[in-house]
């Protein structure tokens, strides 16, 4: 069973707990259409414990790089990371 985090059908499940002060955040009831295209978001979800929560926040502006660093990986993901994988002890 998958726990919905950010639903294209227009739902964000979870507690809507925001961890970063000063950031503009979205919370329960937010749909993908409400997210600004091209804006980075940080999603953190805690499963299976009291107070389990979701936060979905814009990456705060202070973290935005102002220089012209090129977009791209410092290290390419291995083939196994971009395709469905099952941890060995769960296979």
């Amino acid at each position: 069973m998958l726990a919905a985090v950010l639903g294209s059908a227009g739902r964000v499940d979870g507690g809507g707990k925001h961890l970063e002060e000063g950031s503009e955040s979205v919370t329960n009831g937010t749909s993908i259409e409400d997210l600004d295209p091209g804006v980075w978001y940080h999603i953190e979800t805690v499963f299976g414990q009291p107070g389990a929560a979701l936060s979905c926040s814009r990456v705060p502006p202070r973290e935005i790089r102002r220089d012209s660093e090129p977009i791209g990986p410092i290290r390419c993901a291995d083939a196994g990371t971009a395709t469905p994988t099952v941890a060995p002890d769960r296979a």
């Binding site: 998958l2 953190e44 979800t45 993901a77 990371t81 469905p84 994988t85 941890a87």
Partner: protein, 174 residues
């Protein structure tokens, strides 16, 4: 002195990383790596230690914002818990090896894995469902994801970094 904000889910107790060790790892890492997504940075540091249970690596990921250091992960990784030599590997290689064993599945669009790094995931025009979802384990777990939606065409999710961790299985490794 770093003003440190630790994640509220971070387990505490004698077998888990202590605050001063996390600070030391950030301030004086043995190895560091930065995930750059063009407009923000995630820093991943490692320090090597020898404890009562044997050698281990402390791995910490963090971001800077408003003069605060936000820690996203702080993991104590015993050398014998992963299939790579931490001392010969990069922080991302160590984290990836750790997540192969203790990671939970994340689904982004039509793709799934325990670890995403600089991955563009196209969304089909008829895609219906959760753009980002995590699969809880039987117990406690956490998911971290940095992403943005690009309307395109093609419409896609650009993922800078995403991972999910089974905290109960992690606890058993310590």
């Amino acid at each position: 002195m770093l003003e440190l904000q630790l994640p509220p889910w971070l387990p505490t107790g004698p077998k888990y990383p202590r605050r001063r060790h996390i600070v030391a790892c950030i301030a004086s890492p043995d190895k560091s790596e930065t995930v750059r997504a063009g407009d923000f940075d995630l820093h991943i540091h490692m320090t090597y230690h020898t404890g009562a249970g044997g050698p281990y690596t402390l791995l910490v990921s963090h971001r800077e914002h408003l003069a605060k250091t936000f820690v996203d992960l702080a993991l104590k990784i015993p050398d014998d818990a992963i299939a790579v030599d931490a001392r010969e590997s990069t922080p991302l290689e160590v984290l990836e090896a750790f997540l192969r064993i203790y990671g939970l599945m994340i689904r982004i669009g039509d793709e799934a894995g325990t670890f995403f790094l600089h991955k563009d995931v196209p969304l089909r025009a008829d895609f219906v469902g959760d753009i980002v979802s995590g699969e809880p384990g039987k117990g406690k777990g956490i998911m971290q994801c940095w992403m943005k939606v690009e309307e395109g065409p093609p419409r896609q999710v650009r993922v800078a970094f995403a991972c999910s961790l089974d905290l109960d299985e992690y606890a058993k490794s310590l």
